[in-house]
Symmetry: C2
Subunit: 235 residues, 2 copies
DNA sequence: TTTAAATAGTGTCTTATCGCCACTTATGCG
DNA sequence: CGCATAAGTGGCGATAAGACACTATTTAAA
């Protein structure tokens, strides 16, 4: 603990190297994908890792702002949903020494950031199920798995995954997304029933135009962000 | 990002002041209590705050180990249950500058650490419902509230609160504990039924001796730590 | 020794919501 | 026009929680 009062000097303390990283999910081609960045510098130069980095003390007012700023730099937009996942810290996860990373996970509609990402070569959407921990920097493989598990839970008791869809979407699209996240199929009726009963969506009045019966287009109500069903789907 | 390769020097980076704190809960006299420590040094000298402090890079192998070490120093024992809550960080939460705290929440049986805590004056169990944010250091009031909300959720879909009881306990004691945490009463039959069906407890064969019908004494199975009911109690 | 009070634990009906799956509805396209 | 396709509904059975009265087992007082 600090024995000396002012002047305070942070370099008197043996603080760890602290960074902020994010697991940004989206869905494309019916596959769950995560945003990875190819590292240009040591450690792990050349390997792929989560978007993130050091806090800019003059710019970032808090941890979430820092995570959003990093994601904006890589995708061109702020994610529609972001939530803290966990922090990982230890003596051996970074060859430079004791390090801590505060990890967020976030959701974004693929169409909203496609152009920005297509224009660079060191940022890529990668399919979650095809990742191997070996090609990733630090413990980012493990972190992505933890984020996926958290998102799977969310898909069973909330409609948070809706924030990985465009602003307007159909029930079927939302259900397909939940199914991609959890890796199994869901009952159409059960899925619709609970969302309708909780009144979490706004009917935009519009419909899709395609082969087959047109589907109504919905938007998420603000309450949808925090709503939690008392009962999980599946079991 | 690091531009220079070796030799790496952490002081080249503008890292925040990073600490680890814990919200340690217990139950005593049918009230939910949290462990607070009176601060001896600036900032917030004299105010009460969460047990925690700086990482000891030579001693602590990871964040959880660090949190457990701090709690051991204050209570004399390692908590029976510990889990990461969240990290708080920002430019203005600590007058010394940009700071981050990684917060854990933990459970302990009151009887197991009573003697150690009674012997010192700067560590106290404080009733959660009687705390005001003003008497607490940093943003610790808000953190305690978040930890309480998380524990309330746990009480509705798990038996994690059991780790705030002595090794052996009765159904009624466990239910009373859940009720104290969530602040309402629960249905006796529903509470017992689900725990029995999931087979989360071990019957020790022993019983209490007191006024009224003796109650069977149980222990938590290891599975109880991670088990999650598909449906929440109440609603 | 009986009886009341206290606490533990059960029986069982009602209610809510999910799984299941067949059915109807609405559109495009050949 | 009718078939293929996809959206959306009806309705039954199963599971688990809520409600609450009931039984069971002990201590302590009368």
């Amino acid at each position: 603990m600090a024995k000396s009062p002012a002047p305070y000097n942070i370099h008197d303390y043996d603080v760890p190297l602290t960074t902020v990283d994010s697991v940004l999910f989206t869905v494309h081609d019916e596959k769950l994908k995560v945003l990875l960045v190819q590292r240009g510098n040591a450690p792990f130069a050349g390997k792929w890792g989560l978007p993130g980095g050091f806090i800019e003390q003059g710019t970032d007012t808090d941890l979430e702002m820092c995570a959003i700023r990093k994601l904006k730099e890589k995708t061109g937009i702020a994610p529609l949903y972001i939530e803290q996942l966990l922090s990982q810290g230890g003596a051996s996860r970074d060859p430079r020494g004791w390090s801590v990373t505060i990890v967020f996970y976030a959701l974004v509609a693929h169409v909203n950031c496609e152009p920005h990402i297509d224009s660079v070569t060191d940022v890529q959407w990668r399919e979650v199920s095809a990742l191997s921990a070996k090609e990733l920097a630090f413990d980012h493989g493990q972190i992505i798995q933890l984020a996926h598990e958290r998102l799977q839970q969310k898909a069973l008791y909330s409609i948070v995954p809706a924030y990985a869809l465009p602003n307007e979407f159909t029930f079927t699209e939302l259900q397909a997304l939940h199914e991609v996240i959890i890796g199994t199929t869901l009952e159409k009726k059960s899925f619709r029933r609970r969302i309708e009963k909780a009144e979490l969506l706004i009917d935009t009045g519009k419909s899709t135009v395609a082969r087959g019966r047109p589907a109504k287009l919905y938007k998420v109500k603000p309450e949808g962000r925090a709503y939690r069903f008392v009962r999980n789907l599946e079991s």
